[in-house]
Symmetry: C2
Subunit: 338 residues, 2 copies
């Protein structure tokens, strides 16, 4: 396997990207990691510690900034680290793409450079979310689309159900994964016109283990292995969960601080609660966002990703590659088309 890495994308690039890549290269000696970016900035982070030969640096001085217009940047900056990496994936020189940079540009690179699998109308952005419930046997669930598409048709939701099922079965090893549709009520007749139409067609798809509608209130309880949603709502739900978690963690931090010296013993336990909470909410443990439906997997992490998040996401990308998911998706949709 060969993984193309945009070494220059993200708030802490290239340092954290390179350090995460070095850890991944040690963990996965049979995978080659291609670092695209400025060699003068990249090399210092692993020169002294080079007891492995599965990292290659592809030098380029251009990169895409976080605030650039995504489509324009991808079209014009052919020598940007992210775009060069995407072209090498397109040309088969690498099998998958990773970046912590401009998300819109990465989606554009996936769609415009690497391209859709034939038969797939719209790729989706998928994320592996934590389950926060002592009663659930799951530790995570998959949600998609969390924002690749602002406009969604029923055919897209139908295809997302297959994408999610394939990821759950191939990469997470879940047998006959359950798939649910995000709506404003659990009954089959709940939802807007889009959701009601999609509900009917997904219900008829015998290759999907569809368990019906779910409400966003129940997501973190681990109600399904895969939750599908239109990209606008999925994006809003993901950011609501993030925002609520962040506000509550901050509230608890304030309680710890206010306790001051007199509450030191108690504060210890409170800190345990706080760190439990943070650890459970830590997305990076569960990997990054996956653009699924393109000819090769494209993975992103938050712009603020550290080496550990980069490491986890690279391992996830390697697992996707080893699982053969993309080839099977390709076969499935080519067959459907035929």
């Amino acid at each position: 396997m060969r993984i193309a890495i945009d070494a220059m994308g993200g708030d802490y690039a290239p340092k954290e990207i390179v350090l995460g890549t070095v850890s991944a290269a040690k963990e996965l000696p049979n995978t080659t990691f291609l670092l695209y970016g400025d060699q003068n900035q990249i090399n210092p982070f692993f020169e002294e510690d080079r007891d492995f030969n599965n990292i290659e640096v592809i030098h380029t001085e251009e990169k895409i900034e976080m605030d650039e217009d995504p489509v324009r940047a991808v079209r014009r900056k052919k020598d940007a680290s992210m775009v060069m990496a995407a072209y090498d994936v397109k040309e088969g020189k690498a099998d998958g793409l990773f970046s912590a940079g401009n998300t819109g540009a990465l989606l554009a690179a996936g769609l415009l450079v690497i391209g859709r699998i034939p038969g797939i109308d719209r790729p989706a952005l998928m994320i592996n979310m934590p389950v926060i419930s002592p009663e659930s046997s799951k530790d995570s669930f998959i949600m998609l689309d969390v924002g690749a598409n602002a406009e969604t048709k029923a055919i897209n939701l139908e295809q997302y159900a297959t994408f999610g099922s394939f990821y759950a079965s191939h990469v997470k090893g879940i047998d006959n994964p359950t798939v649910a549709l995000l709506s404003n009520g659990t009954e089959a007749n709940k939802g807007n016109e889009l959701i009601k139409e999609a509900h009917k067609t997904i219900r008829e798809d015998e290759t999907v283990n569809f368990i019906g509608n779910v409400e966003s209130r129940d997501l973190l309880e681990g109600i399904a292995d895969v939750v599908i949603s239109d990209g606008f709502t999925g994006n809003a739900v993901l950011k609501s969960i993030e925002g609520t978690a962040m506000s509550l963690v901050n509230l608890l931090k304030d309680t710890v601080q206010e306790a001051g010296v007199s509450g030191k013993i108690g504060a210890g336990l409170l800190k345990t609660g706080l760190s439990d909470m943070r650890s459970q909410l830590d997305y990076s443990k569960h990997g990054g966002g996956i653009l699924i439906g393109v000819k090769a997997p494209v993975l992103k992490t938050h712009g603020t990703a550290d080496a550990e998040a980069v490491f986890n996401t690279l391992l996830q990308l390697n697992s996707i590659l080893e699982s053969g998911m993309t080839a099977d998706l390709n076969e499935k949709f080519s067959l459907d088309k035929a």
Copy 2:
């Protein structure tokens, strides 16, 4: 003022509804509270404690169940406590309606029995949400639509901006309240077609203090006085916030329990954190859900509401009535129409 109350709606009806009403009747001696429901079940809860004369009981033995089809129930069960109360509001015998019962039925009673204000296309469900941020001077913000309409047009979002502004200025006393539009990015060009169209028209409305798009991640930080959203997304966001908060509170509760005897001192502080969190998240402190855009205010609380939640929501309903908001909305939309 006269407030019509469905005494039979909610999981703990009529007890908690009656006890909450009794507290409100003592607090607001100049408002009359009309309790609709079975007098044999209602009377025992306040007979011994009747040092006030502003509660009247309107007897009926019929009621709407939580799982009934809303529209059918409202159309057929004319003698149900909720429906009788709605007809009395329609006929001017009462000024506002309260229920903790079947939400769909209450919305249907508002729309079909009490009716829309002329010129208003779709009433919306509005909620006063807690702000959870030490940096914010706000303790709450208004969000609408959180689920009255699964399908939304740009004209609806435009009108919601006015509804929210009127509530913020009239009831909460906020001068020139800020209004934001929920989208998948803060830039003006972000969103689906609906949101982009609404953004433009709201931007042109000089009566609204529009501050642009917000993401759901920032809602609890108190980013705006009023956040408007299509009903499908708003519902999903509200339930995501509720679900995330509930999961985290449960996680923290487990930490307290696991601490056991050895952690007793620490657990005290953790409990403080937990109770801070619960108190900040307690919606009922901030009142109930408001159906706005109908000829008289219709308020709901959760089906699990206790007497305190009922009391707070009745006080909120009384404030709305005293503020003259509905009359001003009526005037505004009649003028727009003329």
